[in-house]
Amino acid sequence: MRTTTISISEDLRKQLLKVAAELQAKSGETADYDDVVRYLLSRVARDEQLFKQACAPVNVDLSRVRAELRKGRAEDQGREEAFEAK
């Protein structure tokens, strides 16, 4: 991933380090400034109700979902092969 440099105050840098330490303690993995800023941004303006609605259980058999996914991908594959055969 391409990176760039930004300037922040020493005070803010220390606060970001604290969040990094918390992330590391929770996940057990090293967290750098990139991880910290991503984590903080990901929490901005989150809408719990919308997420719950998105993830609400639906009455569909998983085997049907899998079958539809395979069917769709087979359609794409068929088109690709027909295109390549031309």
């Binding site: 991933m1 391409r2 918390e22 992330l23 929770k26 996940s27 057990g28 967290a31 991880d35 991503r38 984590y39 990901s42 929490r43 901005v44 303006a45 989150r46 809408d47 719990e48 919308l50 997420f51 719950k52 609605q53 998105a54 993830c55 609400a56 259980p57 639906v58 569909v60 998983l62 049907r64 979902v65 899998r66 539809e68 996914l69 395979r70 769709g72 991908r73 794409d76 594959q77």
Partner: protein, 133 residues
Amino acid sequence: MLLGTPGSRIISDPLLLGSPIIAYTCHFNLSEAEYVLCRLLGRTQARSKVDNLVRSNYINLTDAGRLYANAAEIKFERSLALGECYTVANAKVTGSIALFAFQEEELKSEMERKPFDVEILFIEGLPRTGSPS
């Protein structure tokens, strides 16, 4: 996750509880999810679910950078559906784990033929309780 299956709650529950997990997807994968849901639930419910997921800001959309090129490279080298290529490419670009709902044979064969340079997990193979590490 959009189906609210018990297996998918290993991701959605920690997200709701404020876990430091960062979840990513891309427009290609959202499109694939929506058309499959469309065929099973109808347009209105499918659109509503995907829109709500995006607008909730719980999932990071990562379509910038070289995602398309990474996906294309994987598609060129491997016998996989483009949607699977985008999932693997997204994991590579974001430094995350590629998470698939189903253990499709083509993907398992490719993993055995030549290991991917990203970690791959399948929801159907994960334990039903507890949080991912």
